[in-house]
């Protein structure tokens, strides 16, 4: 009974079981969505506007909307995020200042997504009077993905060995020249990974865009950054909870397109990371 070898076998079996219980449903979910969503996917579904109260037609405006939002978010978050990462990895000393910034990043990462939505509504939509628009939504999403970009970029910058910098300085390069021509090029793949993960996150989030940009039904494309747009995640929410009698195929099809966009970005990030690991010279 008290044989430790048997106890070990039993314990390991339960650990394995617990792991399966988590990983198997993930696989199942992806398979179910692909199997039930694939029949809905055709050229018309991807390029047509929603028709008949979203019960027919396609999801083109939602795809375009999500694309705009993601690009807007990244063009705001990338410069700020990258420079913050440079500050933390290259300039900051271990003082109150840098600790405050790190704490702020931890908190930004933990703020519930719906609170970002509230914040975007109060600051961009109401206070700055941007209205519910691509601009408001992109800025809100941009702030939300900042911590992802900063954390990934910082890790990438810090993984460049310190003696690289010393060599550069000893050759007479200034601090910024060293960063610009040596550290950044060597960290680029890690930074790219962070950007792509941020893009994926921005594409999939619903709560931050609920009150800042997303339109329930808008069968035309936006003309300026002050227009509302439809967005894929919100569209999926709408057709699965707000509109009765939508064909199941359409719901699964929308879920599949969203899932594929997000997974594709993650896959690219993984490939970049993998290639980088192989190429790493130090």
């Amino acid at each position: 009974m008290k044989n430790p070898k048997i106890t070990e076998k039993v314990a390991f079996f339960f650990l394995f079981l617990a792991t399966l219980l988590i990983v198997v449903p993930v696989g199942l979910i992806v398979i179910i969505i692909i199997r039930k969503g694939l029949p809905a996917i055709n050229w018309k579904f991807l390029t047509d506007i929603p028709r008949e109260g979203m019960r027919q037609g396609g999801i083109f405006p939602a795809i375009v909307g999500t694309l705009y939002l993601v690009l807007g978010a990244i063009s705001f978050a990338l410069p700020i995020g990258l420079m913050s990462a440079i500050y933390l990895s290259e300039y900051a000393k271990d003082n109150f200042f840098s600790r405050l910034i790190k704490l702020a990043i931890v908190n930004l990462a933990g703020v519930p997504s719906v609170v970002y939505g509230l914040f975007g509504l109060a600051l961009f939509v109401v206070f700055f009077k941007f209205g519910a628009s691509i601009l408001s939504g992109s800025l809100t999403l941009g702030i939300m993905i900042l911590p992802i970009i900063i954390t990934a970029s910082r890790e990438a910058l810090e993984s460049v060995p310190y003696h690289f910098r010393e060599v550069s300085w000893s050759l007479g390069a200034s601090k910024w020249q060293t960063i610009r021509y040596l550290v950044l090029p060597n960290a680029i793949s890690g930074i790219l990974t962070g950007i792509i993960l941020g893009l994926g996150r921005a594409a999939g989030e619903t709560a931050p865009i609920l009150f800042t940009v997303a339109a329930f039904y808008l069968p035309q494309l936006p003309k300026s950054i002050f227009d509302q747009v439809m967005a894929l995640p919100y569209h999926l929410y709408v057709i699965s909870t707000q509109v009765p009698n939508v064909e199941e195929k359409l719901r699964y099809g929308t879920a599949l397109v969203l899932l594929m966009i997000v997974l594709f970005m993650n896959l690219v990030a993984i490939i970049i990371r993998y290639k980088f690991r192989k190429k790493k010279k130090w």
């Binding site: 300039y91 109060a122 910024w176 999939g204 609920l210 199941e248 879920a255 969203l258 899932l259 993650n266």
Partner: protein, 288 residues
Amino acid sequence: MRRIKEFIIEKLILISGLTCVLFVLLIFLFLLKEGMSVFKTVSVLKFLLGKNWYPISEPPQLGILPLILGSLMVTLGAIIISLPLGVACALYIAEVAPLKIKEVLKAGIELLAAIPSVVLGFIGMVTLVPWVKHVFRLPTGLTALSGSIMLAFMAMPTIVSVAEDALYAVPKAYKEAALALGATRWQTIYRVILPAASSGILAAVMLGIGRVIGETMAVMMITGNSATIPKSILEPVRTLTATIAAEMGEAVVGSEHYFALFAIGIVLFVISFIINVSADLFLHKTKS
């Protein structure tokens, strides 16, 4: 010229670093700015402990106790499920699994983290909800339990990856010493590695709780959205997050309802702030 350019760039970099702090402050300030107005009409105590949430009746009744209890119940259920499973999974990946299987498992967990919450909510609606309804013979499957199960699942990537890091951070010498003394691998894990990693695992659980409390879309789609004080886990509930997401669209800017939803936002912000700061403390304790 180059001097000036460098000077400007360095200042820009410093300012960018500070914007993160600025954003946190801005979020809090704007939540306060909009949310505090509600306390002109309702006292803080009545707001937090009021049993009725009828924001559009006349006069509106703004008590968020049902919502707090809803969030609490769903969170508690989720943690009871995800804590043992998540730690077990982290142990398996970090200590037991062969290298090749390990890579596959980690990819699976990362995949889960990548799936948008609205997609998981949709899948929960069409699979988990009917299942709960059938198994417990309920009039509806949109219950706190469904939410707990779904959220336990969604908290896994956070719990597993943070706990895994904590396990790796345990010095190798501890493990080698235990094995050299004749302990089996399981005894080593159970008696040496797990206690040594305990504060990191605590941080993992706290971050998991933070993830669960803040989750919005999936929970809104599968918990039934009924803003009453729940009596059992097999009843529909409504969480703090779902209330904001579901009602803000209809609330008129500047109305009491609007202010009250921002006040809920303050509550959520404060909860997540406390959780994140203390999890960060636990994590640093592991490192030093």
